[in-house]
Subunit: 457 residues, 2 copies
Amino acid sequence: MSTPSPQAIAPGLSRRLAAFVRNSQWRDVPEPVREHALRALYNGFGTALGGSSDQAILRLAASLAPFSAGEAATVIGHDTRRDAPTAAFLNAASMNVFDFDDTHQGTIIHPTAPVAPVVLALAEAQPVSGTALLHAFVLGVEVTCRIGNAISPGHYNRGWHITSTCGIFGATAAAAKLLDLSQEEILWAFGNASAQASGLVETLGFMAKSVGVGTAARGGLLAALMAQGGVEGPPMPLEGPRGFLKVLCDAPQPELIERGLGSDWENLRNMFKPYPCGVVLNPVIDACLKLRRKPDFSADLVSDITVRGCPLLKARADRPDVTTGREAQVSAQHAVAVALLRGTSGAADFSDAAVSDPDVKALRAKVRPIETDEAIPVEAAYVSVHCSDGSRFEMSEQAATGSPARPMTDAALSEKFAALAHYGCPAINAGALAERLWALRDASDVGSIMALARPGA
Amino acid sequence: MSTPSPQAIAPGLSRRLAAFVRNSQWRDVPEPVREHALRALYNGFGTALGGSSDQAILRLAASLAPFSAGEAATVIGHDTRRDAPTAAFLNAASMNVFDFDDTHQGTIIHPTAPVAPVVLALAEAQPVSGTALLHAFVLGVEVTCRIGNAISPGHYNRGWHITSTCGIFGATAAAAKLLDLSQEEILWAFGNASAQASGLVETLGFMAKSVGVGTAARGGLLAALMAQGGVEGPPMPLEGPRGFLKVLCDAPQPELIERGLGSDWENLRNMFKPYPCGVVLNPVIDACLKLRRKPDFSADLVSDITVRGCPLLKARADRPDVTTGREAQVSAQHAVAVALLRGTSGAADFSDAAVSDPDVKALRAKVRPIETDEAIPVEAAYVSVHCSDGSRFEMSEQAATGSPARPMTDAALSEKFAALAHYGCPAINAGALAERLWALRDASDVGSIMALARPGA
């Protein structure tokens, strides 16, 4: 039963956000935003290649295969194409399955995963230029992160998987832009998205997480297509008294959605991860990799290891006993062990096989419970190693790779892409694909690039 | 990032609920529950026929058509079949589009809409007997309503469309039972459902509501199929610290999910609606229909109308100005006008056409703002009519049709079914279909009945 109330917050917010998406022109998007969005798309494509052969993705792909009509869209890293909604689902899940995709500062949203797969799928249904695709992608990321800002930090803290819950609105906005929907249709599309917004933190660490992320991409695409087909939504899906913001957050700040909209771009606060694990581990891994490069260090001699960092590091990642690669992604003990033992911190180092490697297990057991200091920022960490010969090594990291103070370079992103392609999908020509993606802004038909992401094509 | 916490409420609840679904035998379901479930299924089938040609359903069907693989499952009232998830989506939306489907006492969940379409779709993929189908349906309704009990009334009051949010778990349970999933797989399926649970009250009164209800059915079916395909979920999707109950409710009572489970059946608290509008209007309409049957009453002479009822009646349905059939469903003024003018209160009386009928408009304008009395229960109402010739009519209803004290009879359900079929889908043989549905428990292959719900078959 409908129960409207006059106490709406900021009436018209949803409508104005729809107008922003409708009216935005490519010339309105500053050059640094365009460049950064291309990096995000490139990075996300790489993490999708890396995740494409993960068991979660293979099982989801098999489960959805009987319900895909035709082969219009590429599933990154797979031979067989699927229909656009199914491909969007699977590519979003692949991009995010290792949590190795981008992270929006402040909200910890992974904005590319729900948004990029939608524009890529639509680009195989109709010719779409590289700039048109990037423009829609920029708007989708912007909508996702701004809605996230309005409900952070309460929303995630309550237990919402913010990548999925906010991502569906970005996926909707991006699809709506490429489909050239009217302002009213975009508003309806937001309403259709609001009816599907979901995702729980409780599922993280399990394959069910990918169900939420995939549903955000697929649901966003369908929300826009339904609006195009005349499926009408409410006028205030975000700010209404029983709309998204109030229902999914105890103390929303709706005004943050519009503050600086179109001038201060959230796209630029989107960071890329050097390691496939929780961002709190980045400085710890940086310090361990530097320490291992010391000429007189030998992992064989290590007797015990102390890690000191911010309180969040302990809260999220003090996990000595791990049994799966998923769990290892949030285990400081595991991250320290592989970095010191192998000198690497890639997808293979957070696999089930790495977790059960006897040498890794032995070293993991030597990492003491995490020590914390409130004065240490989240980008910093200290590692101290005692050895059986009495020697001692100390190393610290003050600004972790991937942090705002030290973002990943394009060269580092290229290395990450190549490593992920090799890990998840060695059968494709990753070099050729990477080249076409870096040149995306010159492409007249993005769809033609997608064949390079299929091993059999 | 995963952030497990030791403070889980009732650990093992989700697992035990999965065990209940897994271990339940048809012989464990008491005869009154079986009979009542058959009524619910029959009633829901009728409301789906009535809703099948509504604009919302036609537009959703057209939007989803390109993404349906094959024609395995019947869309009730439509010529063309769709794949099982798409048919489940559309049939759930049809059943609920007029809010004319069943209502679970206490939670106001419409439990049949998300659940029945899933078992009906599966029954066309493999031979399913009438009793196997009813058994899965009973379990789906039970799971839906019990999860609803645990989060009522706070969940709905916060703005959650409880039919959608809880319905997906019932859809999952019903599908899991028919697919013969193991206990562990059912637990995973609940996790996959938890990642998709959604639906906002803000969308009620708009087509976007049906997006939420359809998604619940489709998502529940897929949650079970994914679990069958090995997509693993968390161990405590319901009761975990960031699980469904705590995240979607401020003060959940998880113990209500298990209290009386298997002995005190929520299925029996599922009521059927005589009129296609908010249940608070039932006693008002009853009183008006009785009043109109008085030999000396003439609607032409009415000068003003007073309605007195419970506070909820005013809160939900004091709506003198309506412009659409959807709004009219929660307008006491409209319901009174059509009942007094036409002597009917069916789907056609809550259509856009009825809303703009000049005679209805004129009479609607004569209904004063609703008067309330806290002593009046929700099942009762008083109507008082003054006429221009000085005459006055009074009528009250103490136990509305469809209330627990006066449930709809099987004969009344049959009349409702026939009227809805005639309204929404006159081309089918509704009599033959009704007969087969009443005899469902003797059916060896329910799928064969579905052809009768397609005009072209």
